[in-house]
């Protein structure tokens, strides 16, 4: 497999307000580097992420989507991350069936104290998606400028 060095992936990261977004902030406070390809969307809880948002991201040309929430049992809303986990399990296997490799989608639990884990996760995810190359599946060229 040839790796295109020029390729920079588009990564959308959904982060819950209570744990993962705070974890991302902590990564910043600790000056932990991760690629600028990751753009974070803040949501109140990982269970707010509708599968439609993820499909939309791929339709618009995202190369990878990652969803971060509180650790199981630590959800600010008690059970939101369990809903997210079930929904994403279904969605990701469907996306895999449609040809979007499982490596392009990920759910990760990052607490507000885990800045280092956030940065490490993003580095690893960007690396994985970069190796896979650009995503063409589901991409709707009519949505492109």
């Amino acid at each position: 497999m040839s790796v295109n060095n020029e390729f920079r992936p588009k990564i959308v990261a959904f982060c819950c307000n209570w744990c993962s977004y705070a974890g991302a902030d902590l990564a910043g406070t600790n000056r932990l580097q991760y690629p600028a390809d990751v753009k974070i969307i803040r949501v109140p809880c990982s269970c707010r992420v509708n599968p439609m948002f993820i499909l939309r991201a791929f339709q618009r040309g995202a190369d990878g989507v990652i969803l971060c929430g509180c650790h199981p049992g630590d959800c600010h809303y008690t059970s939101g991350n369990y809903f997210a986990r079930r929904r994403m399990t279904l969605l990701f296997s469907m996306l895999d069936y449609l040809g979007i490799e499982k490596e392009r989608t990920r759910v990760e639990w990052v607490s507000a104290a885990e800045g280092a884990k956030f940065a490490a996760t993003m580095n690893d995810f960007v690396d994985t998606v970069t190796k896979l190359g650009p995503n063409r599946r589901l991409e709707d060229l009519r949505c492109k400028n």
């Binding site: 910043g28 269970c47 618009r60 809303y77 940065a119």
Partner: protein, 663 residues
């Protein structure tokens, strides 16, 4: 037509050093619907805020985007500024170009490009924002304190002092906690009981404080200002209102072989017991695991001797339901189980004890009446070895990664007290570092070394081998001298790490309060909001938030009470307006949303809808109780018809953000 204003903050050089802020403002200024884009050194300063306010008035802005630090930091500041200039505060969006851009990237080109994209994303979202009005909810003027140690006691006393009702829930039969077990306190060497027990009595006598001892929190519902808590009062088989605490039953009970948990199992108590002489409430409790009457119906001695007729063998657990405005967590700590540390022979020899056990052995009310005798043969120990950091600062799975903070000081205290009382005793302390940050702490430690000649050895103990005569051979290394040490010791004392009480996790789950990986409760902000949980209405007091000594615990407990009082004096609280909302025209009443709602905020109602043929048809639709909804958004995804949406984080808004990022 939207009229958006964009303001880019330099944050001194925090942002400006890696993001070309002028270029960001210039590029974003060209976006459709942006009417003004400016950059400024400190957007959060008064001058910066005035710049925003002036622009709102001058350009008649319908939306505001601030590219600055995390919204967790200054969203509230900019919302307030917008509101004071007449713009609805929920028409403000923050693009996080500090924590999530300038601080994590080094390349100016890359960081600037990302800042522009994040700015665009915020612009895309803010155009779809709707003005929201925060509702109000009343505040129940009563606080609950979970845990009756020194932290809980101090918080409760301070809240009661301000005139509010406080309930303390304590799982043990008495309040007092760990401090009641301690002999003397560093660095002043006052007796712990002498300073703690008056506070315990104050709690009992304060008519604003209700103590639920031998009780546990069973369930919590509600939200800040309006918590509803179910308290389980475990059956103590003694009527608290009748028992006078005379203690006759505890002398006559024939079941004498019950390990006394107050003395950490170093001696025995009866099946009916009062934990210690100064217990509050001073009421006997029957231990159902050991009581012959409860186990096989044969005995009944305590009921016969009780003049107050307080014994009730048929008592059952009861439940109390109570409303609270605020909840304080003061669940405290325990030393870790050190059975995994085989090398120190804790489980093999009685003469290897933990520091807390040593406190009891030295305490005047302890098993030896205050004379230090080693447990195996009650002989006076001549050589004592202290081992520091047992399970603290540990890099394997047996212990904890953090410093337990109090061990250096209490070991210096123990060493000093022993040398003071028994000058013929040799005392060795093996340490990694001696940490003495605290008022008069280093002076105290130096006194132990210089005045009391305690042998401090920098190094670790590799192995403790018990001998048949009860003595222990301690193999250690002295890192400074660079040599191996072999000490024939009479006793070994282990400074076991401390960990949060086991009940903390289940309490955190009930309160939806967050914890770190060590099960310490997380504070809302590590520096600026140290006594509040990120969950509104939950406050933290004492070691449940992190290791600390008594003065720090009391300081935090009082700070925590201050925050609670600040909440309870309010008559109304503003609610988060970012709540779910159901479009009744699209809702088909399927109940999907109700099933996923963790707060029971969704109910259904039969509503009449006018049909095209002018008849009215009744249909079942979902109604969200906005005071109860916390805005997680679980229902929005569960809704098959797309009727349910979340204000402030609407489907359209998040879609617009996705589009802006992917373009």
């Amino acid at each position: 037509m939207n009229r958006i204003g964009v303001f880019v903050c330099h944050c001194g050089t925090n942002i400006a050093a890696t993001v070309d802020v002028h270029r960001v403002a210039e590029t974003l200024g060209k976006e459709p619907s942006v009417v003004i884009a400016k950059d400024y050194q400190y957007m959060c300063s008064e001058a910066g805020q005035n710049m925003i306010k002036d622009a709102i008035r001058e350009y008649g802005l319908t939306g505001l985007v601030v590219c600055s630090c995390s919204p967790r930091m200054h969203e509230a500041t900019f919302r307030k500024a917008a509101a004071s200039a007449g713009l609805n505060p929920y028409l403000v969006e923050i693009a996080n170009i500090r924590e999530q851009d300038s601080w994590i990237h080094k390349d100016i080109e890359e960081a600037t490009e990302k800042a522009v994209i994040l700015g665009r994303t915020a612009i895309a979202k803010v155009q779809l924002n709707t003005p929201l009005t925060a509702g109000e909810s009343p505040v129940t003027k009563r606080a609950l304190v979970i845990g009756g140690g020194i932290a809980g006691i101090q918080t409760a006393l301070d809240i009661a002092e301000a005139g509010f009702e406080v309930d303390i829930v304590e799982k043990q039969p008495t309040i007092g906690g760990k401090m009641a077990q301690i002999d003397k306190t560093f660095p002043t060497l006052d007796c712990a009981a002498c300073i703690l027990t008056p506070k315990m009595v104050d709690c009992a006598q304060n008519d604003k404080i209700t103590i639920y001892s031998y009780s546990e929190v069973a369930a919590v519902s509600g939200f800040v200002g309006n918590f509803s808590v179910k308290i389980k009062r475990k059956a103590r088989f003694v009527d608290e209102t009748k028992c006078t605490g005379c203690g006759l039953c505890t002398e006559k009970c024939p079941q004498k072989k019950v390990p006394n948990e107050f003395n950490l199992g170093l001696d025995n108590r009866r099946a009916i017991y009062i934990p210690f002489a100064q217990a509050v409430p001073k009421v006997a409790t029957i231990d159902p695991d050991y009581c012959n009457m409860l186990k096989n119906g044969k005995c009944g001695v305590c009921a016969k001797v009780c003049g107050a007729q307080a014994i009730d063998y048929k008592a059952q657990d009861t439940y109390v339901e109570q409303q609270y405005g605020a909840i304080v967590v003061a669940t405290g700590f325990n030393p870790i189980n050190i059975d995994a540390y085989d090398e120190y022979a804790y489980s093999q020899s009685q003469n290897v004890v933990t520091s807390l056990e040593l406190e009891r052995l030295m305490n005047a009310a302890g098993p030896n009446g205050g004379t230090l005798l080693r447990p195996s043969d009650k002989k006076h120990p001549k050589t004592i070895v202290f081992v520091q950091c047992v399970g603290s600062r540990c890099d394997d799975s047996r212990g904890k990664g953090y410093c337990s903070k109090i061990c250096c000081m209490y070991t210096a205290k123990h060493a000093m007290l022993i040398r003071e009382k028994y000058p013929d005793t040799n005392v060795y302390v093996f340490y990694i570092d001696v940490r003495t940050p605290g008022k008069n702490f280093d002076e105290f430690y130096r006194r132990a070394v210089e005045q009391y000649n305690v042998h401090y050895v920098k190094g670790q103990v590799g192995k403790v081998v018990p001998k048949s005569d009860g003595n222990l051979i301690v193999y250690g290394s002295d890192l400074i001298e660079g040599k191996r040490l072999v000490i024939d010791a009479d006793m070994v004392v282990l400074a076991a790490a401390i960990e949060p009480d086991k009940s903390a996790r289940s309490i955190a789950t009930m309160l939806t309060a967050s914890m770190d990986t060590n099960d310490f409760f997380t504070e809302a902000h590590p520096k600026l909001r140290p006594v509040e949980s990120p969950t509104a209405g939950i406050f933290l007091s004492g070691v449940c938030q992190g290791p600390k000594d008594i003065p720090e615990t009391v300081a935090q407990a009082t700070a925590c009470a201050g925050k609670v009082i600040g909440l309870l004096v309010k008559d109304k609280l503003t609610c988060n307006p970012c709540v779910a909302h159901s479009d009744e025209l699209m809702c088909n009443g399927c109940s999907s949303c109700e099933k996923v709602c963790p707060y029971g905020a969704i109910t259904y109602e039969e509503k009449g809808f006018r049909q095209p043929d002018r008849t009215t048809k009744m249909r079942r639709v979902a109604i969200v109780n906005e005071a109860v909804c916390q805005g997680c958004g679980a229902c929005t995804v569960a809704c098959p018809s797309g009727a349910m949406d979340l204000k402030g984080f609407a489907n359209k808004q998040i879609m617009a953000e996705v589009d802006a990022i992917c373009l």
